[in-house]
């Protein structure tokens, strides 16, 4: 992105429009991933939306510092998201009551709805009991939808180590499921 910034000064606001289009497309593409990262990372309550908004607002303010040559946009964005999650954890340091009501598409029976709510609750409860590192890795994998390689780049862990931790943690959750 810096290369074409070489020649797009303020008198040529093409950069503003072009950049805005870029960022709009990135927002649309990344919003579900960031939102679900927080659903896995902090819970399914309103905090997930709040922290998603904080992440994008921080990213938008800092977008001038994003350097395409240093890595993919998602890596940069989730670096911000991770910091937002850490800040949130430091501020709260207590379990937030889990939201049980989930919005579901119509057509489900009351029994199916109850079962689904229960599954969301159960998984959320299990995640809340995990150590921070394991929970974050699961959030990046299943919430954000990142590959093990991308997770390794973000966290500084080896890719193989990421895979091992994820596998072990999911196995443990499955046993408790």
């Amino acid at each position: 992105m810096e290369t074409h910034e070489l020649a797009l000064p303020r008198l040529m606001p093409w950069n503003a429009a072009a950049t805005a289009a870029d960022w709009e497309a990135l927002y649309v593409a990344q919003l579900p991933h960031v939102y679900n990262f927080f659903r896995y990372r902090v819970g399914v309550g309103p905090e997930a939306e709040d922290l998603t908004a904080v992440t994008f607002e921080k990213a938008w303010r800092a977008r001038g510092r994003y350097r395409r040559d240093l890595g993919a946009f998602s890596t940069w964005l989730f670096t911000i998201a991770r910091h937002v999650a850490v800040d949130h954890h430091r501020r709260t340091r207590e379990h937030v009551p889990l939201e049980h009501a989930a919005e579901l598409a119509g057509g489900h029976t009351p029994e199916e709805l109850a079962e689904h709510r229960s599954d969301v609750s159960r998984l959320a409860t299990l995640l809340a009991g995990l150590p921070e590192r394991e929970r974050e890795l699961l959030a990046l994998k299943y919430g954000a939808g990142l590959t093990n390689r991308a997770i390794a780049r973000l966290t500084g862990l080896g890719e193989s180590n990421v895979g091992t931790i994820l596998h072990r943690t999911v196995q443990a959750l499955r046993a408790d499921w």
Binding site: T3, L8, P9, M12, F56, V120, G143, V170, L173
Partner: protein, 326 residues
């Protein structure tokens, strides 16, 4: 491993939430001034743009008589690159993090272009832009066309603050030029026309082609263009002798200054479709091994249109792509 249960928590964000957040980000986008960049070129350009406007406040009394006796128009017709010491930008950032307020006391948005609209094809974008969108016939390195966005016309008025500009000169210990008091309080109006932005990509490679009619800068008459141009060049760190020489040789009414840090880029004059063009190449090494990273931009004008093609391409590929624009 059966991990289907691990997906139970996933949901689509609420549409209302997504829409409100998107609108909040976009409205912050429209109002935000050019942001500071770690790479000095971006900051240099924001600064140079402001300075170019300041320089554009002057015109020679010998210039053509306009129906609007106290206004003259500045339109981009050519580009000139100027080497400068990139560390000067760090000094400026320390002095004022918000580069755009270095010379202006206020800015007033006269016409808000709003967020750009994205189209699937160049043909569709042509309708919104009001002119035929030209596309490259050659896409090197496996590039494929991606999005096409059109930004609407806009207008902004800025009021010059001579005291601020003089304070900046003092902070940079520049004593050989002074700010003429006659520019204080003068208004400069920039009118931008619709601009088209085409994006291309191939894996990690990206390229952008920007096309627009030249923006117009309305400036009041009676000021010394080359004197203010010299001030701008000195602020960029150009030596006093070079600033004097350049400011007297440049046609400030039609030239866009493109500052290039000596340690991060190089430039040369080229031609595109037989027209003079400026090619700026970023030099240096990237973060992956010893591979030298390419990055270049070529700028040119044809008729009333101005073009900029930039990308993670080498010079030959970029020029080939530029020549193929039709």
């Amino acid at each position: 491993m059966d991990d289907r249960f691990m997906h139970e928590l996933k949901r689509e964000p609420r549409p209302e939430f997504a829409r409100e957040l998107g609108q909040r980000l976009a409205s912050g986008d429209a109002a935000e001034p050019v942001a500071r960049r770690r790479f000095p070129l971006r900051s240099a350009l924001a600064l140079a743009a402001g300075l170019a406007v300041v320089a554009g406040l002057t015109f020679s009394p010998a210039m053509r008589v306009s129906a609007q006796a106290f206004l003259d128009l500045f339109r981009v017709r050519q580009f000139t690159a100027v080497s400068f010491d990139g560390s000067r930008l760090e000094q400026l950032h320390k002095a004022d993090p918000n580069n755009t307020m270095l010379v202006f006391s206020k800015t007033e948005k006269l016409q808000d272009p709003g967020p750009p609209k994205v189209f699937a094809t160049a043909a569709e974008a042509s309708g919104a832009a009001g002119f035929p969108v030209r596309v490259p016939g050659v896409l090197p390195s496996g590039l494929v066309a991606d999005t096409v966005a059109v930004g609407a016309a806009g207008a902004e008025r800025m009021t010059v603050d001579a005291k601020k500009l003089q304070s900046l000169l003092d902070a940079l210990d520049i004593r050989d030029v002074t700010v003429p008091g006659s520019i204080d309080g003068k208004s400069v109006t920039i009118r931008t026309t619709p601009i088209v932005f085409q994006q291309f990509h191939s894996g990690n490679k990206h390229a952008h082609l920007v096309q627009a009619r030249s923006p117009e800068v309305e400036v009041p008459g009676g000021l010394e263009l080359n004197r203010l141009g010299a001030i701008g060049l000195r602020i960029l760190g150009v030596s006093a002798a070079d600033a004097r020489r350049l400011s007297n040789s440049i046609d400030w009414r039609s030239t866009m200054i493109v500052p290039v840090p000596v340690d991060a880029g190089s430039f040369r004059e080229v031609t595109v479709h037989g027209q003079k063009a400026l090619l700026v190449t970023r030099t240096g090494r990237g973060s992956e091994g010893d591979r030298e990273r390419y990055g270049a931009v070529v700028m040119w004008t044809e008729g009333e249109q101005v073009y900029a093609l930039a990308g993670d391409l080498d010079r030959d590929e970029l020029m080939q792509m530029a020549e193929s624009v039709h």
